[in-house]
Amino acid sequence: MSTAALPRRRVLARIRTSRAPLNLLCLAFVALVVALAVLAPWLVPHDPNAVDLGNALGGPSADHLLGVDASGRDTLSRLITGARTSLLGPLGVVVFSTLAGVAVGVVSAWRGGWLDSVLSRGTELIFAFPGMLLAILVVSLYGEGLTAPVLALAVAYLPYVSRLTRSLVLAERERPYVAAYQVQGHSAWQICLRHVVPAIAPVVLAQSTINFGYALIDLAGLSFLGLGVPALTPDWGRMVFDGESAIQSGYPLSAILPCAAIVLTVVAFNVVGERWADQVARRDR
């Protein structure tokens, strides 16, 4: 149907061309934030925790390029150091949830039967808990910290990965090459690990990239509430909380900067992840 297909193709082409520079920009931003986080100790101009009450709420100056916060701590240094905790937490969430989710998804798709229904019920149960709620529950049990909320969020994000994996594996199983390997006597594990998992990996990883942004939002929220990282650790969510009082005293910079850091980082991860997912989908079509 030439006429029915035409407008669609046009839209796709437009998105492809107009989004390419945006995608590159986002990719570059992700690289920049990661580089800052890795190299933080060598980059920071000041000790991020050095308090200087005499200079509290000072604006940008030659010494403090982005000003200081209500306790006189250098905002630039705290942003750079804060990138470490702000990225490390989501990284943990994504790594745990991806590994466990893929394992659960592959097993329930490949084995099927009662195991599949048990795992699906469990997935449905976890779905009922928003990630943030699960993290708050865990914090109320174990107290403030980063490890427990990261694990809780990993559990909360697991169903998204496992459902996706399950449906992908079910589709992949039907493809002729799997039967061919089975006929040749390859074991189910061999086929899964060597062929099926690599085949579905791009889709899952693209989804995990998007999950990274959401995990960052959830963990920053916990820090904002004072339930995440310990109070003195520089962290973007914590900086927003500290900046709230600065805003009320008419000095918004120390709050706006961590806000911008969070939003831009999440945008960058979302755009990169979505674009990756689009590319994979187009390639598969």
Binding site: M1, S2, T3, L6, P7, R10
Partner: protein, 333 residues
């Protein structure tokens, strides 16, 4: 059948239709002339990509975004391409209606059949709902269904039944012209035959003109009074169905009919059409069929042939420099 030449304007009269899409090198439709008389069945035949679907859709001005048109498409005398939105809606509601290829895709699966049949009358005309429903059940009977179907959802009917619904829907506005775009391609063979004979019956009963778009030559021969053969956006050949199929005068028609009498091939051998139809990114200098044609000469490659009546047979028009060379070839019966 003689072409009716009474004063009222024919249901469809396309003159010099040229249609260009954005970012293409040549027009998708390049000077199409086509008429459908009252009560006449006309087949439009061609490969996919030849522009036959676009031609039929342009009659309802269902054009892709960014399409630029030249020429006129007159339905019952009024130029569709020059209509304002109000006239266009009037045309689509009443004067002309289209039957689509895949009824499963063409009918909204979330709405009842009754809603589908009556919505255009209810929303566009002053017809009371009860009146619209009454007409819908009459037409359902005419296409061989009962009005129990009114309350069904498309998912509850078979493909063949849905195509009957589609036909009934097309007749709701009492159109002067029916456009059928490959209406049987998505159906199985027995259903195809039923739908084709139904279309023939209805055309006779309601006296509408029918433009039947298809790639199936056998079907075109069986159903139509006249045939247009389309290639690369141009009409290659036209004429009464029996004459055109028994004595094709355009090499492309001959090729479509399955046996290409090529001068350089050993006699008696059947040859498929080599090559591909030209893409939209290729500018055409001469005859679009020349690269695939066994008769092609330098003239064909330089100069596009105009459609000319055959000597002694003014009802037949052929756009070929060498139509006379097909005379008396193996295909002529």
């Amino acid at each position: 059948m003689n072409t009716p030449d009474r004063p009222p304007a024919p249901p469809l009269d396309i003159r010099g239709l040229r249609l260009r899409l954005p970012r293409t090198a040549r027009p998708v439709l390049d000077g199409v002339d086509l008429t459908v008389g009252a009560g006449e069945t006309v087949a439009l035949v061609g490969e996919s990509g030849s522009g036959k679907t676009l031609t039929s859709r342009s009659v309802l001005r269902l054009l892709p975004t960014g399409a630029a048109t030249e020429g006129t498409v007159r339905v019952a005398g009024d130029d569709v391409l020059a209509m304002d939105p109000e006239q266009l809606r009037h045309l689509r509601t009443g004067t002309a209606a289209m039957i689509f290829q895949d009824p499963r895709a063409a009918i909204n699966p979330l709405r009842r059949i009754g809603d589908f049949l009556t919505e255009s009358l209810r929303l566009n005309t002053a017809t009371p709902p009860a009146e619209a429903t009454r007409r819908a059940s009459t037409l359902l009977e005419a296409v061989g269904l009962t009005d129990a179907a009114l309350r069904r959802y498309p998912g509850q009917l078979s493909g063949g039944m849905l195509q009957r619904v589609m036909i009934a829907a097309a007749l709701m506005g009492e159109p002067a012209l029916l456009l059928a775009d490959e209406p049987t391609t998505a159906l199985d063979v027995t259903t195809q035959a039923e739908v084709v004979s139904l279309l023939g019956d209805l055309r006779e009963r309601f006296g509408t003109g029918l433009l039947f778009v298809t790639h199936d030559l056998g079907l075109a021969a069986a159903i139509s009074d006249r045939v247009y053969v389309m290639y690369a956006g141009r009409i290659a050949e036209t004429g009464p169905a029996d004459a055109l199929f028994s004595r094709p005068r355009h090499p492309y028609t001959a090729a479509l009919l399955g046996s290409t009498p090529r001068l350089d091939a050993p006699p008696g051998r059947l040859v498929a059409i080599d090559g591909q139809p030209p893409g939209l990114q290729v500018e055409l200098a001469g005859c679009p069929f020349a690269p695939r044609c066994g008769y092609a000469t330098d003239l064909c490659r330089d100069q596009a042939p105009a459609a000319r009546p055959l000597p002694g047979d003014p009802a037949r028009l052929v756009a070929c420099h060498h139509s006379d060379r097909l005379e008396g070839s193996a295909l002529d019966g």
